[in-house]
Symmetry: C2
């Protein structure tokens, strides 16, 4: 594998199954296995925008769609030497089957990482997963029967929505305000379920630099949300891939640091080191951890051992905290470029969030525009984004889009916002000339939560 | 991670969830989350022998229980240099997110590997998985609703039984004879289902050096089984981790080489290179492959990219075919030691299979003995095995045990058979003195298939 070519389609933590994957062969053939599939499989469908994103990955297109971290600054010679040394030292262990729960030394290091967010945890309560995506998969497997309700922010991470859908769960979205998930909306959602004799299996939330909204919960907000959860005996899954990438200062205390029995915490090395190792984890109360290990053994026997030794070696031999600081400077410059570009190039009536970290800005279009309908025209103008509808289980979000600043250079980001501004300008002209036919349905306008009113 | 210590419990392709995993904390606490779990979770239980196997992993015990390959002969300096070079060449790609289907270059190399067994395949029909265990997980997810029937050999791989159980499938065992899965028994099982208005979602079979029975299907037998499958429109999942480890000569043609639309093929690098990378794959008809990729994206976004680049680099830079020949010589010596030790030390009335490859011998105890009941006494005598009941979904197998020759040295293997012979001798004495109280139930004796009558 000596050429640095990328496959034409690459999984992406921002896009998940909605836009990633192979578009090489379009499925025009009949599926002769269709009567054999499980009920859950009939809900697995490739997104309509999948083929479009194959085009959007061309180099002439500025992609503000992806969620890939920029790992170009990782010192390859340091990593290469460390891996060679690791193999010579402990290769026979690193290349052997390992613990279904994950390697003990890595689990200890994970506890050190989590201590930066105020979490006091025991390595025995940590389960290593194939990225935190697999943590979502195993938790949904453990908790959710078909039809079970899961609460999630409106909008929420598309990869989580895919996984909840793969287990036939029913996602109920809960609104956000400037400070992220709204405790009043959460209370109302729980009360409404209660009135219908139902209960949510858990709340799924991303407290820091939420994907896709870019909003963060202040400390007091986290406490309020936990209060509501106690009131309704609600479990919380706290997904925290971006927490250490706080551009405004030190990391905030995790929700898990405030309640060890009610909060199940998901972490990942994908954004603080590199995603290719697929090393994530779950910190869960002991009884849940036991189920997670059984589920992990049925799913993979054990998470990738070589990856775990590699990450462990990186953490013990490299200044990983310094590397995170360097990532933060790089992302800060890109975030600033995105915000400057939007200020300069967006037409009146467009609004967007101003994230303190993470990878994403959530943009709301002027009334009458539809982000999914205009995507082909944007790609023609050599800029790509993810339409807001991808982040809702219920079809909302047509006036929204997610813009990511993690991967392109600042210059390309500014160029991308300029191209996007041109597309929006032409859409508005069309809309003014021809009126309402491109408008989203009324229900979407009136009910869509607006996390960007700040 | 500078010390070569192993965790006290290690996942194991032979034992799966039945015996692997952490026994550090015994679960004596109440599970306060129990009313929140999905229905499928209530079936996830740690095996009763799990704690015992923590003891069995002590160095003074000869473990004939594990299924870990012996990778001590891998040239660490070659692998270490190759990994360093790979990182310097393509590190930014190897450490980034990748394709949900798996890296294109590795999929091409996988097709080369499969050509050794007569398979002509296109890389686009290959999906990379987190070991072939995950292939089982994704296929069961795609095909099986709760209550669906899966056919499997009697006995069958415990890790597969775990996965089928995790999706609440119902396993129907099909008998074997000297040549592996019996076509007449398969026909009868299919006909019986048909009479009850049911149909199996698929047949799960391991044609080469079956785990745990150690039996192989001759070429003609494979054709006969495919004929029966055609007769009943049955899908076949061909699991082939050991096919290239044929100690008797060249690999046999895979079932997949005889029918590309009816056979879904699972492969793995765990036994031909090393398991720690967790690199397996599925070769499936196009429509199924599309579902697999969607399921993979929901499960992990993408299989471990770094592992894939590592395996790919190993295949392109090392004489992997020569390495397999060297593995074969090493395993042949161990297999021979096992068979010699059994011939010398087993009491009359004990029978066992004589594998041509793979890792396992299946042993049948003299009438009246129970392998699970005597396991604690065997471990006290410093020898461990897996009781036959682990390999049945229906409680049979109490007169059987699986003995593995893959991991201990020939000397240790012979010592292990000696210790096992002592235990059997004492069990027989007890049995003769005190009669029938240790006997397995009559139903198990009369119905248990006996793959070892050769």
């Amino acid at each position: 594998m000596s050429t640095p070519a990328r496959p034409e389609s690459v999984a992406d933590p921002g896009d998940g199954g909605a836009v990633a994957g192979s578009a090489r062969r379009q499925d025009t053939r009949l599926d002769s296995y269709v009567d054999r599939y499980a009920a859950r499989t009939h809900g697995m469908k490739a997104s309509a925008v999948r083929a479009l994103f194959a085009v959007a990955n061309r180099p002439e297109v500025v992609s503000l769609a992806g969620g890939m971290p920029n790992i170009a600054d990782l010192p390859l010679n340091v990593v290469g030497d460390a891996m060679r040394e690791m193999i010579l030292d402990v290769g026979p262990q690193a290349m052997q089957y390992g613990s279904g729960q994950g390697e003990p030394e890595l689990r200890e290091q994970i506890c050190e990482v989590m201590s930066l967010e105020g979490i006091a945890a025991h390595p025995d309560d940590v389960t290593v997963t194939v990225g935190s995506q697999q943590a979502l998969d195993l938790l949904t497997r453990i908790f959710c029967d078909p039809g079970d309700v899961v609460l999630a922010e409106a909008p929420s991470y598309v990869g989580a929505l895919n996984t909840f859908g793969a287990y036939q769960s029913r996602v109920v979205h809960v609104g956000m305000d400037d400070h992220g998930l709204d405790p009043a909306a959460l209370r109302e959602a729980c009360a409404s379920l209660q009135r219908h004799g139902a209960r949510a299996k858990f709340l799924y939330t991303i407290p820091n630099f939420q994907n896709p909204a870019g909003l963060s919960q202040p400390v007091q907000r986290r406490r309020e949300l936990i209060e509501v959860a106690r009131e309704f005996d609600l479990l919380i899954i706290e997904d925290n891939p971006y927490g250490l990438l706080n551009l405004a200062g030190d990391p905030l205390p995790a929700m898990r640091s405030m309640d060890a029995e009610r909060v199940i915490y998901l972490g990942s090395f994908s954004k603080t080191f590199a995603p290719g190792f697929r090393a994530g984890w779950v910190l869960a109360p002991h009884a849940v951890r036991e189920k997670l290990v059984l589920a992990q053994e049925a799913a993979t026997l054990c998470p990738p051992v070589f990856s775990q030794f590699a990450v462990s070696k990186y953490l013990s031999s490299h200044d990983w905290r310094g590397q995170i600081e360097s990532f933060k400077s790089m992302y800060a410059a890109r975030r600033d470029a995105m915000l400057a570009g939007l200020s300069e190039h967006m037409p009146a009536g467009t609004t967007w969030t101003r994230p303190d970290g993470g990878f994403f800005v959530w943009l709301t279009l002027p009334e009458g525009l539809d982000s999914q309908a205009m995507l082909p025209r944007a790609v023609s103008n050599r800029v790509a984004y993810v339409p807001g509808t991808a982040f809702y289980a219920d079809g909302l979000g047509s006036r929204n889009m997610r813009l990511s600043y993690c991967y392109p250079t600042p210059e390309r980001i500014i160029e991308g916002t300029k191209r996007l501004g041109e597309v929006l300008g032409r859409e508005l002209e069309l809309h003014e000339t021809f009126g309402l036919h491109d408008q989203p349905r009324a229900v979407e306008r009136s009910q869509a939560p607006r996390p960007d009113q700040r």
